[in-house]
């Protein structure tokens, strides 16, 4: 039996509030629960890590993954990308790229990104290979392809727990600027969900509200563990 007993902590805070401050455990019906979130993009470098870092800073229980087959980083030319396996520590990539061409990778923001990443976690993780990481309540993806991969993976798994999992896709272009915006949106969305006792009943309203407020398309699906 997996531990699905998770503590839910409700955030009333807004984006600008610093994690840890003003945190209140809200009891509703005697529950003190907390959702687990997963941020997923294709390489677990840019978009998912941006969101991961942000959510983590806000004190949410979050992990991040990629669904691609490899971790690809832009190289000196478009023909020569830097390809790593999932699981290669960010630090290693950082050192390697810094050794290769510090100027280039500083200029295109890769080094900064890796530095941020290595402060968040050890290495990029592949979603499909980390089914053992436990049960998530909410999965945010940032690309339709990733969304499909996650759903496919979830549907291919055994579903003995009958535990619902919310998978949402927010389209975010894969560049640093958009990733920053996407990360903030993801945080806002997760805090919104966190504020509801059972998202199963309110998800439609949450999504509609989000779409209205940010004029961004949000697609979700529900799967089971």
């Amino acid at each position: 039996m997996k531990n699905i007993f998770v503590v839910r902590i409700f955030f009333l805070d807004h984006l600008d509030m610093v994690a840890g401050k003003n945190r209140r455990i809200v009891r509703r019906g005697g529950f003190a629960m907390r959702f687990r979130y997963a941020m997923v993009c294709s390489s677990n470098q840019n978009r998912s890590m941006e969101a991961h870092a942000l959510l983590k800073r806000q004190g949410l229980d979050v992990a991040s993954y990629g669904t691609g087959s490899h971790v690809k980083l832009p190289g000196p030319s478009v023909r020569e990308p830097n390809v790593y396996d999932f699981g290669t520590p960010y630090k290693q990539m950082f050192d390697e790229l810094r050794r290769k061409d510090p100027e280039l990778y500083k200029r295109n923001g890769i080094l900064q990104m890796l530095k941020r990443n290595l402060s968040v976690k050890l290495a990029p993780q592949r979603w499909q290979d980390n089914a053992g990481d436990g049960v998530f309540d909410v999965v945010m993806t940032f690309e339709e392809k990733v969304f499909d991969s996650v759903l496919e993976d979830l549907n291919n798994r055994e579903q003995p727990l009958m535990k619902t999992i919310l998978v949402m896709n927010l389209e975010v272009k894969d560049n640093h600027e958009e990733a920053a915006i996407g990360g903030r949106l993801a945080l806002e969305l997760c805090q919104e969900i966190e504020g509801n006792e059972a998202w199963e009943d309110t998800i439609d309203d949450i999504v509609a509200g989000f779409e209205k407020q940010h004029r961004r398309k949000l697609v979700y699906s529900i799967s089971f563990y």
């Binding site: 039996m1 019906g29 690809k72 832009p74 549907n155 439609d204 529900i222 799967s223």
Partner: protein, 1426 residues
Amino acid sequence: MVGIMVSYSRETLEGLASSAKSATELAPKLHCLRNLRRDLQKEASVFPTELLPLLFDLLSDQFGAVRKFVAEVLGEIGLKYVELLPEIVPLLIKSHKDETPAVARQVIVCGTDLFRSTLERVAVQGLHSSELDELLESSWTWMIKFKDEICSLAFKQGNSGVKLCAMKFVEALILLYTPDPSGSLEPPSHEGIQADFNISMLRGGHPVLNIGDLSIEASQKLGLLLDQLRHPAAKSLNSSTIIVLINSLSAVAKKRPAYCGRILPVLLSLDPLSFLNGVHAAAANLALKTVFLSCLKCTHPAAAPDRLIGALKEIEGGGRTDKAEDLFYKTNGSIQDKDSVEDTKVPLEENPLCVSSLVAESTFGRKRSGSEYNIDGNGDALSGKRARIIPSVSGESTEGLNGNDVGSLPLVASTSAGPNKSRVVSDTGPVQQLVAMFGALVAQGEKAIGSLEILISSISADLLADVVMANMQNIPPDDTSYADGTDDLVMNMCIVGSDAQIKYPPSFLAGVLSLSTAFPPISALINRNIPKKENAGEELCADHVDQQMFSAEDAVLASGLPASSDTFPVNEEGNIVFPPNVHYRGNIEGGIPGMDSSAQNDVLLEASVTSVLGSTNVEAASMNQDASFSGEPLLAVIPSVSVDKSEEFSPKTTGTGCNSLVSSTATSLVSAPQFVLPKISAPVVDLSDEEKDNLQKLVFLRIVEAYKQISMSGGSQLRFSLLAQLGIEFPSELDPWKILQEHILSDYLSHEGHELTVRVLYRLYGEAEAEQDFFSSTTAASAYETFLLTVAEALRDSFPPSDKSLSKLLGDSPFLPKSVLKLLESFCCPGSCDKVEKDLQNGDRVTQGLSAVWSLILTRPGIRNDCLEIALQSAVHHLEEIRMKAIRLVANKLYSLSFITQQIEEFAKDKLFSVVGCISSERGDGETLIDDCKKKDLDMENPPKKSQSVSGVGMDTSSEARSSTSVAEAQRCLSLYFALCTKKHALFVHVFSIYKDASDPVKQAIHRQIPILVRTMGSSSELLKIIADPPSGSENLLLQVLQTLTEGPMPSSELIHTIRKLFDTRIKDVEIIFPILPFLPRDDVLRIFPHLVNLPTEKFQVALSRVLQGSSQSGPVLSPSEVLIAIHSIDPARDGIPLKQVTDACNTCFAQRQIFTQQVLAGVLNQLVQQIPLPMLFMRTVLQAIGAFPALSDFILEILSRLVSKQIWKDPKLWVGFLKCAQSTQPQSYKVLLQLPPPQLGNALTKISALRAPLTAHASQPEIRSSLPRSTLAVLGLVPDSQGTQTSQVQASETQTSQGQQQASESQQTSQSQQVSVPLSHSETDHQETSQVVATQSQSSPIGTGMSETSQSQSSPVGAGQSELSQDTQVSDSNPPATTSHTQTSDSQSSNQTHADDEKIDDTAASENETMEVEKSKESSAEEEE
């Protein structure tokens, strides 16, 4: 020990439970419970029953979290200690209505686990004993109660999170109650819970469970679930419920393919958009899409992939359907490739006809064909429907195929009917025997099922595989409906195939897949019997029937289509048409209506028609076998659809055709190890990465090399698509693009290189633009760029510049990256380095590049700016040849395009202004240059080159080089602008405005261009506007412009007017008038004449020549004599002109003797002498005339004598001149001198004492002496005052002679005085003058016209540069007449004179006397001369 442990832990547990109960806060409670649970998990032995009540109490705890946790713990306990279930389950049932959703959900979750485990226990126990133990039975009863509760929850209206769980429970229930086709069939050998429980392990005679009842219940529950999604009910659901419903249903459909037939129609007919608003519809749509995509992988017949694709298309609006079709194609579409496998295996029987023949011959085939016929007999609607489905399926599966072969259709039918009987396969190996055995068994129908099963299980896997391989020849080409999941092996292989599709190269995959398709004939038969044997529900039966239907349809195709592949090449010449466009999309759309009807039919047929077919009609069907193979059914079907659906067939047939061609080459290739049978017989091959790469590479190469066959068969479009797609899919290490490039470039034209390249580029571009993560899209983008660039460069290097391939390629490419533009730029603006190496080619290259740029600008708005930039850069290229080409393009073609006019103008303007700032040279050079410019302006005859070389003389070579380069540089920047000026004259004004600040080389460059430019422009109104208001400092430029403008034919009156006005108002420099001098009216010229005189000598010369030369139309403006008179009439004081200038002007005139001839001078003097007062320079001119033309001396003497009569001595200046004149003309002038009154004579002799002696000598001659008055003689000292007689004598004679003279002089005087006194009106004098002018004009006209004629004939074509020359020739031409006129000077002079006088007589009576006298004196002088 154990007891202690147990008791200890029991106490602990109880303590924990009670403390949990007693605690009031949430946290400690949970803490206790967590410990409790941990201990419970450790506890292996019997459960402490005392604990239960405590836990039950906790189920009603105030905290939801506690209740939930307790429920979870209870669930675990229930799983572990089955005996407690009857106690636990009632409580769970109670608490599933808990007000906290989380608790309820937890209860359902626990309940599901409990239900599953209980069911398994019940089932397993029932297998081994006829009785269940009581406890278990009561547990089961409770579980059923629980189940009913949850189900009611699931089907209740409402939208809660609990419902989601409940529905999930129902899904689990359905799955539990129905047999898992992929699960093991064998009953578990021992009691206990199996990992994969399968209800199919139940056999008849189970005490509690009846598999049929269970299936019915599952079916009911499924129906209830489906009902929720049906139209009215679905409206009240929220989207999360819908999503879960859809997902659950899809899970059921996937795991129990038998239900596909029920589930998919509902899902397909579900139209979320119709009842859900935006967000929710999107979510539901997405769920549907996911389901459909996953269902596409399902190979069950009811999956109806064509309909799925259609539905996906609707959902996506085309977005994802490519993927769907790809998926489908990869999974199911290995139809034709099967042939290749066959061919490899049976090389002797390459004729695909063997398929149909075998079908016809074997009993197996007999049966299948029989059923097919029956189905066809079921009604027109049905067959029509089917005929529609099949083509659309095949059309999709051969995606991208666009060969069309209408003509082969009838052939298909006929050939399939024809030779099939003659083909008998006589392979008598064990495999064939086995096949025959299978056939025989199958033919016996149900009776033989048992033995069939035994046979299958008894033969080895390898042998079975071989049997299947052999039987493959009997398979219809469409395998979509065959792979039924009930056969383990087939299922596995399908999975292998579908999983491998991404990693394996398609043709290998095809091999594997075709293997799986090989099984259906057998597996279908097996499958058909299994349900009956096991008494499964009617669902499976119906399902099986569906499958039969499909197979029957396929048989129709199977008999026909493979044959076409054989007949195809034969009839190629006559029948085959290859339309080049891809039309499979249309096919699909056409297929959709058919699909709908088939969907309904499927549902209907489930119950009625097909069940009959499946069982009873089999025998009857086999009787009709012969009829079915006469080809009639096929023909019957085809005509009904072929009218509008023929296209749907054709891709299929063509596809088969080309594939067979490919496969036949494949067979001939020995080095194709992947097609060797043994390897295929073990379809799950674990290849190393390297092997995979090799295979992929080989496959790719083979497709690449197949171009010859493909081009013959017309499938090249498919091949292109295939290659492009493969290139995308292949790992980049293989570098498929390079292979492709080599192929393309090895023979660009005959390999259809353009088409292939463009196809590849579009594919890559699509990949790059698919908005994926930027890592993969940049990879595609770089591949795109490299590919295009490589091909483009190769085209450049291998084709002559005149070839259009490159520009066509660039025009057709979806996008031109920077590097390609750079390549283009290197065409248009080659660097200076390669100028040397291929100078010859450069020009053509530039043309090629520019024309490409031009067409790109026209057709590709996106890169218009970049291309324009290239063209413009080329237009300021440093090589003139290139520059001129580019300028021609820009000015003539591009500038007229309204959307870039502005840009071009801006650019040219920038360049124009830039030269002012940038290009500068040293001042020293500049001055020489500016002089040059001016000089050049003045004498247009100097060609620019010459002037430059002249300027170079003064300078050292280095500075010359510098200045010339900077001139070139200026020209580089300017020429574009000038070219634009010719298109838009208003632009010209900027040239004027920069001129002032321009450095000297720039000015020089401008001056070089102006003549050409202005000549092209002509005197347009815009130009005139500019001229009318020239910016200050641009005078030189203006001059040149005017010169150029007036060079040609008669300048327009507007132009003349403008210039005049300009001169009058703004620019006082008379030079501006020069160009139009010949065209001005005479009066105007005379008015400005003083200004001309005031010019430096050279300029005056120019002006003079212009005035004298005049225009070709109107002749000279002034005659030479008029010019001289005009000069003399200048009063330095009045006109403000230095006397020196006037004398210089005179000198200038005298210098040109050929113009200012003797006659002219004579005429002029004659007129001048009549003026009162005499012109200041008169005597000077007379002196000059004598100096220039000694022959004039007589005439001048006459003038002198007239001057005497005019009392010349009264004007001291003239008097001096007179004396000088007299002195220079002595001795003839003695006579005149002697006419002087004695005082004046004395004065004269004192002034010029040298005269005295000769004059005295002259006068002392007797005859003269006698005529002289005494006083004169006295002055001369011939007669002393005392010698009275002598002098009186002389005096007498003198007086005699002098009387007459005196008389004459008196009369002259009177006439003069008259002239003075009589108020002569101006008009009169004018008139007189004009009449004289007329005379002189007529006199000089022969020469004048002669001159003008020559000038006319020479000036216009030659231009300014040669005008000097022409003048020279004029001079030489006019020489002979001049000399002749010299000889007859006196005659003509006199005649002229008389002529003039005659007229004068008429005119003025007042001057009659005078003229008479003149005449007389002239006569006398003539006499004297003689």
